[in-house]
């Protein structure tokens, strides 16, 4: 067990990996993301990455949402 708490961001997940949203680092972005059903406590799975590496598509609250990597990096996972 390590005492260092790593901050895991959504942008760091690989395709097929799943995480649970903990909090957001950008208030303005978080308002938009929450409206789209991406809320704290919600499970998110990276379903694919665009052919050029950005943006990414995630599976969240029953549908597929695409967002840019920079936007995904404002989402902190548990």
């Amino acid at each position: 067990m390590s005492y260092i708490r790593y901050i895991m961001r959504l942008s760091q997940l690989e395709v097929g990996e799943t995480g649970i949203v903990k909090e957001f680092t950008d208030l303005e972005m978080s308002v938009k993301l929450m409206e789209m059903g991406c809320l704290p406590g919600e499970q998110v799975t990276v379903s694919r990455i665009a052919p050029l590496g950005d943006p990414i598509a995630i599976h969240v609250s029953g549908y597929q949402l695409s967002l840019r990597k920079r936007e995904a990096s404002t989402i902190i996972l548990q």
Partner: protein
């Protein structure tokens, strides 16, 4: 038509809202504009079961009443502004049953505005397939509103929905969703009191949106701003806590009314398709194949109907000339107004075909994958993944392409796309290029396979794409963004296109173009007609008198004489005079006054170039006689005996046509799409400057 009842359709994008609208209204619909914005306002009429008539208003799809784009802000304005003539008596909120959670957010917001609400639960079949069972009665009871399961695609449940609309209450009876006052108690109380607002959620929305909504007076807006400072109101924090509270309500509601069967995680069809369509290599190959197909089809399928429309108008014009008494009024009607009308109608096939394809791409869900794949490249040059389709469509015609930029939500991206699309080589430039290339580029092959003329033409096409991207890149730094750029976008599940919607979309767009851009095009056509067919003073009479003399009328055959007169009249018309006036300006580009006339008349449409050249060089004025135009131009000599059309002049001219905004229809459509003359004016200015510079450089390099 008078309606007894106004009904607004509200819902998330991709929930089948427009399908429902089409089902309810049939072809009985009207497209207008919401005042001041470029959002299409779709209204239609629907006969209810008791013989009353309802006006149905289709509002733009949105995920929330807090708008992400200007289009979405319409929804709140229509629903909340009591003085808005479209304010509905009843709101039908359409929910996607297979994705209730996110869909319900908008419902709870609309419900809290306390307008009478009916819920249409669409895509029940999809929900069932996904293992979702909804207890509709319990659901309706919890919300306190009528809930009607429907399938807009299969036209099921529509009669039940109509009768629910029929018997809907005149007052809102829905249950409260969240405790709105708790979000900002002081502020809501103060706004309610000072602005005499009786609904707490409306008061809260005013606090959030007072800067952007247009139905508040400046004094009211300033007062709200003051109150916010007094109460320490933080808009985004309040929005965040509101959204969380709403989702808590939704989770409780769904927990009691919806059962989701945990099916074995079977890979969905949509996911399988996505694996191919957004694949690293196949994804791009398929996308470019689709683009190529669309591009080819716009060319190939529109050629015949366009010729038919063209021929029809030629026939109408010549018959009217025979029927009506000769005179200036007849000429104005036939050669000005009807010629302008022909210029409008001839675009319909291309517009219809492009929008047919775009609507298929959007309906199936493929368009958002295009955006997903292309976003990274396009973002670098200040564009958006969605700019790809207008840019490629620009190869056929800028007019429908600019109309298609509407689905770009981001204001700045959309404006840049509109500004650069006319740079792409459209089909009207093709006759100009082929004429000039044939004139100066030898018809020879190099390395056996590459034809020089073909290479020159391909070069012009590639050059246009490069210049469009370059200009976009520059504009990225010149234009200020109005909103922060987001790319939070739903990738909807793949579905079969609904052919009726495709048909409606083709019809809608063509109609909107004819009605709205058509006026400007006809006006410009009339002005250019006057310029080309009248001259200052008595110049025209003198020409007529001159050729009435026996030496001409007896010795020259009538057809030739007719052409010589037309040519001389054009030289002496206002357009000809203008050609002489601008000669000093265009001389550095290698152009003489004759080319000057062609440049002026080409501002109606580029393809007019060939016809004008034909008239000036007194060839029978028909584009099909291209070869004879070419011969005449080839043998045209300057006073000193050297040829007019050298390689330098021809390429300089092509550069001018590549950059200049010589298309009244595009100017008109840019105005229609931007609702501000500043945009078409600055576009016209920058393109003319670029055209001049490019021609100047080309001429001096090749001279």
């Amino acid at each position: 038509m008078n309606a007894d009842l106004k009904v607004a359709l509200v819902g998330n994008p991709n929930t089948g809202k427009s399908t429902l609208f089409n089902v309810l209204t049939g072809l009985n619909q009207k497209i207008g504009n919401f005042p001041g914005v470029t959002v299409d306002k779709k209204t239609g009429y629907c006969d209810l079961t008791d013989g009353r008539r309802a006006q149905i208003i289709d509002l733009p799809g949105t995920y929330s009443l807090y708008p992400k784009s200007r289009d979405e802000s319409i929804v709140f304005s229509v629903l909340a502004d009591k003085s808005n003539p479209l304010r509905p008596d009843l709101v039908v909120v359409i929910l996607d049953a297979s994705n209730l959670k996110r869909n319900l957010l908008l419902y709870t917001q609309v419900a809290d505005l306390k307008l009478p609400v009916v819920v249409a639960l669409n895509m029940m079949d999809l929900a069932k397939k996904g293992g979702i069972t909804i207890d509709v009665n319990a659901f309706a009871q919890k919300l306190g509103v009528p809930v009607v399961p429907i399938s807009a695609r299969k036209v099921e449940g529509i009669d039940q929905l109509k009768s629910a609309i029929n018997y809907a209450n005149k007052i809102a009876l829905q249950e409260d969703t969240i405790d709105v006052e708790a979000i900002a108690p002081q502020l809501i109380a103060k706004i309610s009191e000072e602005l005499q607002v009786d609904n707490p959620y409306y008061a809260l929305q005013l606090a959030h949106q007072h800067e952007t909504i247009n139905f508040l007076t400046p004094a009211e807006s300033d007062r709200i701003e003051e109150l916010e400072k007094e109460c320490n109101f933080h808009s985004q924090k309040a929005q965040a806590s509101e959204t969380i509270a709403r989702y808590n309500f939704i989770n409780d509601l769904l927990y009691d009314t919806v059962k989701k069967q945990e099916t074995a995680q079977e890979e969905s069809m949509s996911n399988k398709i996505d694996k191919i369509l957004t694949h690293k290599t196949f994804g791009f190959i398929i996308f470019f194949a689709i683009l190529l197909f669309i591009f080819q089809s716009i060319f190939a399928w529109s050629a015949y109907p366009m010729k038919l429309i063209g021929d029809l108008f030629v026939w109408v014009q010549s018959s009217l000339h025979h029927i009506l008494p000769a005179g200036p009024l007849t000429n104005l009607l036939v050669d000005g107004v009807i010629a302008g009308l022909a210029g409008v109608m001839v675009f319909i096939p291309q517009i219809a075909i492009l929008f047919g394809f775009i609507s298929i791409l959007e309906d199936t869900g493929y368009m958002s994958r295009v955006t997903f794949m292309m976003d990274r490249v396009m973002r670098k040059v200040g564009l958006n993944g969605k700019s790809v389709v207008p840019l490629i469509g620009g190869f056929a015609c800028a007019v429908p392409s600019i109309m298609s930029t509407r689905n770009i939500e981001n204001w700045k991206d959309r404006m840049i796309t509109i500004m650069v699309t006319p740079l792409v080589t459209c089909s009207a430039r093709l006759p100009v290029y082929t004429l000039l290339i044939a004139l100066v580029v030898p018809n020879k092959n190099i390395w056996w396979v590459f034809n020089l003329q073909g290479l020159a033409l391909t070069g012009m096409y590639l050059f246009s794409l490069i210049s469009a991207v370059t200009v976009a890149f520059v504009m990225k730094y010149l234009l200020k963004a109005r909103e922060r750029g987001y790319f939070i976008m739903e990738l909807p599940v793949y579905r079969m296109p609904r052919w009726k919607n495709v048909g409606y979309s083709m019809y809608d767009r063509s109609k909107a173009f004819v009605l709205q851009a058509g006026k400007v095009i006809i006006a410009v056509s009339v002005i250019l007609w006057v310029l080309a067919s009248y001259g200052p003073g008595d110049r025209f009479e003198k020409i007529d008198q001159k050729y009435k003399q026996a030496q001409y009328s007896q010795h020259v055959n009538p057809d030739d004489l007719h052409r010589v007169i037309a040519s001389e009249k054009l030289e002496n018309s206002y357009a000809g005079v203008l050609g002489h006036v601008i000669e000093p300006v265009i001389k550095p580009l290698g152009f003489d006054w004759k080319i000057g006339i062609a440049l002026i008349t080409s501002f109606a449409a580029r393809e007019v170039f060939v016809g004008t050249m034909a008239t000036i060089y007194s060839v029978d004025g028909d584009a099909e006689k291209m070869e004879s135009v070419q011969q005449k131009m080839h043998s045209a000599k300057k006073p000193d005996g050297s040829p007019v059309f050298t390689v330098a002049v021809a390429f300089s001219l092509m550069m001018f046509y590549a950059f200049a905004m010589q298309c009244a229809s595009t100017v008109a459509v840019v105005y229609r799409e931007t609702k501000n003359w500043r945009w078409p004016a600055s576009q016209f200015a920058y393109m003319t400057v670029l055209a001049y510079l490019a021609s100047l450089i080309t001429y001096h390099l090749l001279k």
